[in-house]
């Protein structure tokens, strides 16, 4: 696994969570996943990557953590997956993908607007082709989440 290109994403997650939520997520051991894998999460924010590499960046949360992070930003307790929660998850994956580009400047990359997939055990449609997908699990004092990255030419095994 090419760690060199994973590091910018880990650093982007750490920076975003520290500045926005005063949380210090710990990256656990990354692992390869299959494209058809069903995600054991409740909500995912997805950013498409184009330009000199093609792929996706997917940020996934359990409902309670997504609601808790949204409550930090809005100042209002959340117990449903409303528009504020999807807005928070979309903006977070946007910040992480955009910030990670700083560590990948040898590739000129374009990022899409975020999209959201919800529902327990949902699935993400990855681009076709033999691109490895790496999931980085993160642990925080408020719970776990994960970041999955599949980028042709960049993420290699």
């Amino acid at each position: 696994m090419n760690i060199r290109y994973i590091t910018p994403f880990i650093e982007a997650v750490e920076g975003a969570f520290d500045q926005m939520f005063q949380l210090q997520p710990q990256a656990l051991t990354p692992y390869l996943v299959k494209k058809e894998e069903i995600l054991d999460w409740d909500i995912s924010g997805i950013i498409g990557i184009a330009g000199e590499a093609r792929g996706l960046v997917v940020l996934s949360f359990p409902a309670d953590l997504a609601q808790e992070l949204t409550a930090v930003l809005t100042g209002q307790a959340k117990d449903t997956m409303d528009e504020d929660v999807t807005d928070t998850v979309g903006e977070l994956v946007n910040i992480i993908a955009g910030n990670a580009k700083k560590g990948l400047e040898e590739f000129r990359l374009l990022i899409s607007l975020p999209s959201i997939v919800q529902g327990h055990h949902h699935q993400v449609t990855w681009p076709s082709g033999p691109v490895p997908i790496i999931t980085i699990p993160f642990s925080t004092s408020r719970g776990h989440f994960s970041l999955s990255v599949g980028l042709e030419n960049i993420i290699t095994t």
Partner: protein, 126 residues
């Protein structure tokens, strides 16, 4: 003073607004738009002192809005700060070439936003 905050994320607009409120900007100076198209309509209809604009937005994105504004004599001197997640140097260069006055990478911090605003407003022609 009127500050126009343009971002497709309502939560981000609120974060920027609340950060400015904590810097003692009064509530009544803020206007908001969810994309560049709505922002353009506001800018054509009202005098705006400062534009804070995201890059990645639907309809008309922040970079396209900046180019459109700078191509129009009325808006050539408008102070514009782009506030975006786009952190690569080539993005900063592209935005500066398009005509932004300054560039701030998200997440927004109070200190970062205060410094950028002070800098661009101090540079305004008297």
């Amino acid at each position: 003073m009127r500050i126009l905050i343009v971002d497709d994320s309502r939560i981000m607009r609120n974060i920027v607004k609340n950060t400015l409120k904590s810097l003692r900007y009064p509530e009544d100076v803020f206007l908001e738009a969810p994309d560049g198209q709505v922002a353009w309509q506001i800018l054509e209809a009202q005098e705006i002192t400062l534009l804070l604009v995201d890059w990645n937005m639907p309809t008309l994105n922040g970079l396209e809005l900046v180019k459109k504004l700078r191509a129009n004599a009325k808006h050539q001197k408008l102070p514009i700060i782009m506030i975006t997640s786009e952190a690569a140097k080539y993005n900063v260069i592209e935005a500066v070439k398009a005509g932004v006055s300054d560039y701030l990478v998200k997440p927004v911090t109070e200190k970062g936003l205060e410094e950028k605003i002070r800098r661009v407003l101090d540079r305004r022609p008297s």
